[in-house]
């Protein structure tokens, strides 16, 4: 439970909100699918933190990311002509490069070349990886992009999908760190007990242990079985919006899932999914269902008025939620809380400790930021993410150490 004031501090990311400023200044984020930004084709509108941008790809393959509004008089650069690697605004032909230089001001009679140099343009550094275009929206010198183990995998080992949802970004983050819903919300998908994912049914009561890290924390969700063995699923929370989920099976060479909740504005988010395998090609059957889909899984099947397409007939037949897709179950409960859930009204139980810790860390960092201290978990020199990996395993007993589970 947090106070109303704390809730606002956590949720608000647009305008001058301190959380928005901190996130933009200290963390890169995935902005748009690479496949949506095609060579020489229309620039794609991207909205993040309540601000409007365009992403485009020049004939040379290079990606640019600029404010949507032309620096001249604000016409939309989504209309612009695209070349190598610049946008030419339709209105007066001002040509703006991906690096933020104004190359041509054809309607200026006096000293156009000198005039062009005085125009201030915001351009944002980009980095492609895992099928996504990542961007840094801060001011000054960008920190290095995060070096997660999936960033440079070849296309057959990684792909991304995403969906826009009418919910605040923090609801998206909390969805990834909460292990206790797995055997309950997703119970229709846990009937085969061979997988570790399905084994979460052995005990719906989860106990947690945490290890604080420089990048966030590891949350071990522990479930004891009747025979004394213990299932451990260790989620990695990486500040500020990443949840690395334990794989469905334990052991090496697993397909893994990463969920990243990125703010579009105060009431909408993009829930990104990155699926990857560090050692071999990812499962191709699932990939054909999901890869590069926008929106993922065909989008939300309805809205509040039809309960987002919930089918009560299949529930009568034994389906536990009335939804056809596991990710839709996550999206629906998140959106059903309302666009910004009022956390001062909630009543938590012991399984919610991971969520409690996410909020504490975000509050601690943003309060420090307000007082002039950069966040300790901020992306900067020395912060490395390449060894972070969510793991899972079956321990012989609860007293065996989950920290020993190999990566």
């Amino acid at each position: 439970m947090v106070t109303r004031e704390e809730n606002e501090l956590l949720c608000r990311v647009t305008g001058d909100a301190p959380m928005g400023k901190m996130l933009r200044q200290h963390y890169w984020l995935p902005a748009v699918l690479s496949v949506r930004v095609r060579k020489g084709e229309a620039p794609v509108r991207v909205k993040l933190f309540g601000r409007n941008f365009v992403a485009f790809r020049g004939g040379n393959g290079e990606v640019g990311f600029l404010d949507e509004a032309c620096p001249h008089r604000g016409a939309s650069l989504a209309l612009a002509r695209v070349d190598d690697c610049a946008l030419t605004c339709l209105f007066h032909g001002w040509r703006i490069s991906a690096r933020g230089e104004v190359l041509d001001v054809p309607n200026e009679p006096n000293n156009p070349k000198e005039f062009a140099k005085t125009v201030k343009v915001k351009s944002y550094p980009v980095r492609e990886g895992a099928g996504l275009i990542w961007v840094w929206l801060g001011e000054g010198t960008a920190p290095p992009p995060p070096d997660f183990e999936w960033m440079d995998l070849p296309p057959d080992q990684v792909y991304a999908a995403g969906i826009e949802l009418n919910a605040n970004w923090l609801q998206g983050v909390e969805a990834t760190i909460d292990s206790s819903h797995v055997a309950l919300l997703h119970q229709s998908w846990t009937t085969s007990s061979a997988t570790d994912f399905a084994a979460t049914r052995q005990n719906t009561a989860v106990s947690y242990e945490f290890d604080r890290k420089s990048y966030g924390f590891r949350a071990a969700a522990l479930r004891s079985a009747a025979d004394g063995s213990c299932l451990a699923r260790v989620t990695e929370f990486v500040m500020p919006y990443y949840g690395l989920i334990a794989p469905i099976y334990s052991g090496p060479q697993q397909d893994r899932t990463v969920i990243i909740a990125v703010p579009i504005d105060d009431e909408n988010l993009i829930q990104w999914y990155i699926y990857y395998n560090a050692e071999k090609p990812v499962d191709s059957w699932r990939r054909t269902q999901r890869a590069n889909q926008w929106p993922m899984a065909g989008g939300m099947p309805g809205d509040k008025n039809n309960n987002w397409g919930q089918n009560r007939q299949i529930m009568d037949a034994g389906n536990s939620t009335g939804f056809y897709e596991i990710v839709i179950e996550d999206f629906v409960v998140m959106v059903s809380m309302g666009p910004i859930v009022d956390r001062s009204q909630e009543y938590l139980c012991s399984a919610d400790q991971a969520i409690v810790r996410v909020r504490r860390q975000l509050l601690e960092e943003v309060r420090g930021f307000i007082n002039g201290k950069p966040p300790k978990s901020g992306q900067g020199e020395g912060m490395s993410y390449k060894d972070i990996r969510a793991v899972g395993g079956r321990l012989a007993s609860a007293s065996e150490d989950w920290r020993q589970i190999p990566r």
Partner: protein, 109 residues
Amino acid sequence: MTDNWKHVCAVSKLSDGEPLGIKLGEQRIALYKVDDDIFATDDVCSHAFALLSTGFLEAHVIECPLHGGMFDVRDGKCRAGGYKDIRAFPVEIRDGEVFVRMDVPEVAS
């Protein structure tokens, strides 16, 4: 006279600022190390059964992770939340081992 002092664990098991939850038979207690002093209280929060050993320790106050209840580890008094006080148990260190006296009466409702 019955010796109500129970051995709990080695002092070395405790780290500054990190509560430790221990079960003594059926009884759950939480141990805290604040600077060089050791304190012990009930582990179960008087509000809704959360374990205080999973909470957050700042100086002498333990904050329950769920609903914000705060208790002073020296005397068990509830400092925030308006919940019933918890029991604080006397602690003795004998040869680097923590002993706790368990015959503290239940807090009156």
